[in-house]
């Protein structure tokens, strides 16, 4: 929902232009403090603000993920609270290298998560194999196993980068509810 402001007449209060409503109707609704959206949009708004990721820390990125969740960067303020069970998780942050031995377990964890679910590939190992791309035992990117929504580059990404990536995921959830295609 976007707030419309009349730049020609600054005296007129800002309002939200709702789809299928005239300008006057929208202004009246905004004045009364009423918001109108589809159920999908409201659900997406709620989901994006209570993302519960699964603690899936395989390697170094996991330490940065822990650091982001701890006191200094505090992921809780975005409603992001780590869960230990895939049954309770909305999204999975793949933090670290996925080896060929680990790949079936990643797939299984993904299958165990309830819909709707999202995947964040954190760091260059989960994105494309990273520094271990030439190793015999490493999967060249988590997207070879499960679909990935957001890729975060870095080895490992700094906590601000992880927060930015998670904010992008929240944005994606909200935009998709509006029927927009997000790549």
């Amino acid at each position: 929902m976007e707030v419309t402001k009349n730049t020609a007449n600054p005296q007129e209060p800002a309002y939200v232009q709702f789809e299928g409503f005239s300008k006057e109707e929208s202004q009246e609704l905004s004045k009364a403090g009423v918001l109108i959206g589809t159920l999908e949009q409201v659900k997406a708004w709620a989901r994006s603000n209570s993302l519960w990721p699964l603690t899936f820390a395989t390697a170094c990125c996991g330490i940065e993920m822990m650091g982001t969740g701890a006191a200094h960067y505090d992921l809780d303020r975005f409603g992001i609270i780590f869960r230990a069970s895939p049954r309770q998780a909305d999204c999975i942050i793949i933090a670290g290298t996925i080896t060929k031995k680990m790949a079936p377990i990643l797939k299984r964890l993904y299958d165990q998560m309830p819909e709707p679910k999202w995947v964040v590939a954190m760091g260059s190992c989960a994105t494309a194999g990273g520094p271990y791309v030439r190793a015999y035992s490493v999967v060249k990117g988590a997207d070879q196993i499960i679909p990935v929504d957001v890729y975060i580059p870095g080895c490992p990404p700094s906590p601000p980068a992880l927060i930015y990536g998670l904010n992008k995921l929240q944005e994606k959830i909200r935009l998709e509810a509006k029927g927009k295609k997000v790549r």
């Binding site: 699964l54 603690t55 899936f56 820390a57 395989t58 390697a59 170094c60 996991g62 330490i63 940065e64 822990m66 650091g67 701890a70 006191a71 200094h72 230990a84 895939p86 670290g96 290298t97 080896t99 031995k101 680990m102 377990i105 964890l109 520094p131 271990y132 030439r134 190793a135 015999y136 035992s137 490493v138 080895c155 490992p156 700094s158």
Partner: protein, 366 residues
């Protein structure tokens, strides 16, 4: 009439927050009591040693960062120390001091993470938040020094890559004073807690003989009362110039290992303090050839890592790349005693014992 019981096979991990990564433990339980336990490793095997065979010595350094990712600086120290020893290279004084400072700060950071995660495993959430705030300060110091937060790639064969930025030494001194005060608070908050003591005292006990037979090192060995620290017994770098005590335990139980970690932080702070006071001016990089060629032969060199003796074994054919590179990874060696420790314990003690052995899976699997 006796109640019929049967053994149950349980699978812990590889995705389990208390296994500190991707360790899998297959335990056979009879009710609450563990009858048999088998750790399964290899979920993070990335083939570092094989990759190193195709890399020049300088290119191997960033891979060592990712072995024991809680103590990257010490891993850097191990590999550059081994190459320097093999090539007989001189390192400038300032670089040696910087190495000791960052290695000890890294040891503090690593032990702090142990402290936080161990208590998290035992059910106390807040220490984790406290120590990560402290660790963030160390990481900030490192970040200013070399621009990275976790995988530093700071040391080079013949010295270190960057000199300190302006005011860094003063900031580090302030941090040392700050952490000294914090340590008293941690002891006050956690060490005397009765619930905590009941969870760790007398749990996971082993004696010196067992530890030596299993080639254990580091805190796991010292907690049994055996005084063995490579920084004292086989001084490398410039550790012989500093005044510090080797922390030893008595009983070799989880409580002793916990106390050794905390006391070692205090000793490391002493070393950092002395090194910061003594640090001389001068270059940080010695004279080294552009392409490093280790003379043909076999070389072993070890440093006291955060988890034990971290050794690097180089087999060279005189080329710029090693023929074979072997890391003696303390976490992997220390883990071998785990099945013996777990038998006869209850399931809830599994987490306490596993946590106190203090493993990092990046190092176990390499």
């Amino acid at each position: 009439m006796a109640i019929r019981t049967e053994e149950l096979l349980m699978n812990i991990g590889p995705q389990h927050p208390s296994t500190h990564g991707v360790l899998r433990v297959v335990v056979k339980v009879d009710g609450e009591i563990i009858v048999d336990a088998e750790p399964v490793v290899g979920y993070l095997h990335r083939g570092t040693e094989k990759l190193a065979e195709d890399l020049q010595y300088t290119q191997i350094i960033p891979y060592t960062d990712r072995l024991d990712y809680l103590a990257s600086m010490i891993n850097n120290h191990a590999i550059v120390g081994a190459v320097e020893k093999a090539m007989d290279l001189e390192v400038p004084e300032r670089a040696e001091h910087l190495r000791v400072i960052v290695a000890e700060l890294q040891r503090i950071a690593s032990h702090l993470v142990f402290f936080g995660t161990y208590l998290l495993d035992l059910g106390a959430m807040s220490p984790f938040l406290y120590v990560f705030a402290e660790r963030e300060k160390i990481i900030d110091l490192f970040n200013r020094l070399c621009g990275a937060r976790l995988t530093f790639n700071y040391m080079r064969v013949g010295g270190v890559k960057w000199d300190t930025p302006e005011g860094w030494v003063e900031e580090a001194k302030q941090f040392v004073q700050h952490l000294k005060k914090q340590m008293d608070m941690y002891h006050e908050l956690v060490t005397g807690n009765e619930i905590f003591l009941n969870r760790v005292k007398g749990i996971g006990k082993f004696d010196t003989e067992t530890a030596i037979n299993f080639a254990m090192s580091g805190i796991n060995l010292r907690s049994t009362g055996f005084n063995w620290d490579l920084r004292k017994n086989k001084p490398y770098s410039i550790y012989d110039r500093f005044d510090f005590d080797v922390v030893v335990g008595e009983n070799g139980d989880c409580y002793d290992r916990y106390m050794c970690h905390l006391k070692e932080i205090e000793q490391s702070l002493r070393i950092v303090e002395q090194a910061l006071d003594q640090i001389p001016e001068g270059p940080v990089m010695g004279k080294v050839p552009k392409i490093l060629r280790v003379p043909a032969g076999e070389y072993y060199s070890a440093v006291e890592g955060a988890r034990g003796e971290l050794g690097v074994y180089i087999v060279s054919e005189g080329k710029d790349k090693p023929y074979r590179l072997k890391f003696r990874r303390p976490s992997f060696v220390n883990l071998q005693l785990l099945p013996k420790l777990l038998v006869g314990q209850s399931m809830s003690n599994l987490i306490a014992i596993l946590g106190a052995v203090d493993i990092v899976l990046g190092e176990v699997d390499a």
